[in-house]
């Protein structure tokens, strides 16, 4: 056991701040994706548009209003999650370490669809994926703020390679997060017993508690 101080938290697979921010984030992300795709459609970066049925807002003004309203909820929720993750050592406890050997081993397993699910323990591939999606989350906020304020925050835009490049960065970060969501949902479908604990919190049994710490 790393942290003996908080027994209640240790007994839950997913502590309530993680569950609350997870579901709020899921709702925010749906709004941000759908409104973002509508905004993309107004001036596509690539030779495709998103189907109107996957967008929200009805027209560009509506989509922008959705995007710039939910960005606040997303930002506040994300900040709470990150602060909690650092303060409670959630990141360190659940998402570290990631060894190269373990990564190789777990990746081979995953690609062979040998999904050994240890309750309460993330394997190396999962840990890496969470770090990647967290990084993509930071990148999407930074690039989003940059293309929202390319004059007031021109130094940030310059860092990203200019306004036009920053739009691609924002899109790429979206694509990374979308890919994560797809894999995440597929895994939940393949291992459905993981869904309920994300809602109720689940129970961490003494057995996997040792592994989990």
């Amino acid at each position: 056991m790393v942290c003996k101080g908080n027994d209640v938290r240790q007994k839950k697979l997913h502590p309530w701040p993680v569950r609350l921010t997870h579901w709020l984030n899921a709702a925010c992300m749906v709004c941000m994706f759908m409104s973002g795709w509508a905004i993309y459609n107004a001036s596509p970066l690539f030779s495709f548009r998103f189907p109107a049925s996957l967008t929200v807002g009805g027209w560009l003004g509506g989509a922008l209003a959705w995007h710039f309203a939910f960005m606040w909820l997303l930002l506040i929720n994300g900040a709470i999650y990150v602060l909690y993750g650092l303060a409670s050592r959630h990141f360190k406890r659940e998402l570290l370490p990631i060894g190269i050997a373990a990564l190789k081993h777990d990746l081979t397993d995953a690609l062979r669809f040998r999904l050994v699910h240890e309750k309460g323990v993330y394997n190396a591939v999962q840990r890496l994926m969470y770090w990647i999606v967290l990084a993509a989350g930071v990148l999407i906020v930074i690039s989003g703020v940059a293309i929202w304020k390319p004059v007031q925050l021109q130094e940030l835009v310059a860092l990203l390679g200019g306004y036009d490049v920053a739009r691609y960065v924002h899109f790429a970060a979206m694509a990374m997060i979308a890919a994560f969501v797809v894999i995440h949902l597929v895994l939940v479908i393949l291992v459905p017993k993981t869904l309920l604990p994300m809602i109720t919190g689940g129970v961490r049994t003494p057995d996997n508690e040792k592994n989990g710490s």
Binding site: S53, G58, G61, W72, Q152, Y163
Partner: protein, 256 residues
């Protein structure tokens, strides 16, 4: 360069009401097809124009975003400027109507009206505007749609003009009325920004019709739709004059 012409040609501009009608047809079709993206499909109708509860929240958030942006805005921070070689050619035409509907302005009888919280309400001719100190900047125009283009605009700094007409610069808003029923407005700090121009020239020659002749507002710190063209009246007010797009739902401040 050619990419822009292609883009402008492809983009079909329709008024928001028509757009809405189109979206409604698409949405009905979509619902009939029985494909719903969870509860979100129930909300796709919230578009800032129906006045329902979600719309009210979205409008309130937009007003909050006005305040945040006003706070982020620095009257001293200049928009990046570019070299002549970086100018986008041809610079894209953009309006809420097609190129065939550019208003005809009779240059010989043109005058710029000024009203509201100002001292001297005499109208201005183009010649008198040209006699004021001029400034020219090569800046990036960023459209609310996301695309951008670099151009060179020259003219009278709006601040200089406001000083000449004895405007109350402690007032909150500067409004603009255009020859094509377009209208828009700026917050006073943005109106007084050194790069905010009453533009008379594009690329060193008098504004051609497609770029808003004979006078447009050029604000490098705002999105493109806050740069009204064919301006025929300027007024200073403490009541927010809104704007053609702003009143339909584009964020009013729209600073960049």
């Amino acid at each position: 360069m050619t990419e822009f012409t292609k883009k402008t040609r492809q983009r079909v501009r329709i008024e928001p009401a028509q757009q809405l009608e189109l979206e409604n047809i698409q949405r009905r079709h979509f619902l009939r097809a029985g494909l719903t993206v969870g509860a979100m499909s129930m909300l796709t109708g919230c578009n800032l124009q129906d006045g329902d509860q979600v719309d009210k929240v979205l409008w309130a958030m937009s007003r909050w975003n006005d305040r945040v942006q006003a706070w982020l805005f620095s009257g001293r921070k200049l928009a990046p400027t570019f070299a002549r070689a970086q100018i986008t050619k041809p610079f894209p035409f953009n309006a809420f109507y097609g190129q065939d509907d550019i208003p005809e302005v009779d240059l010989t009888s043109y005058s710029l009206a000024v009203s509201g919280r100002i001292r001297d309400k005499a109208p201005w001719t183009l010649e008198s505007l040209r006699k004021l100190p001029q400034r020219s900047d090569i800046t990036r125009l960023i459209c609310v749609e996301g695309w951008s283009a670099i151009g060179q605009w020259g003219g009278v700094p709006l601040k200089t003009f406001l000083e000449h007409i004895g405007a109350d610069t402690t007032a909150k808003f500067v409004g603009f009325k255009c020859a094509d029923r377009y209208y828009s407005s700026l917050d006073m700090p943005t109106a007084l920004h050194p790069q905010t121009l009453l533009a008379l020239d594009y690329a060193d020659v008098a504004l051609p019709p497609e770029y808003g002749y004979p006078l447009r507002v050029r604000v490098p710190t705002k999105l493109g739709f806050k740069n009204p063209k064919h301006v025929v009246e300027i007024f200073v007010s403490n009541d927010n004059p809104g704007g053609y797009w702003e009143d339909q739902g584009y964020n009013w401040f729209s600073g960049i």
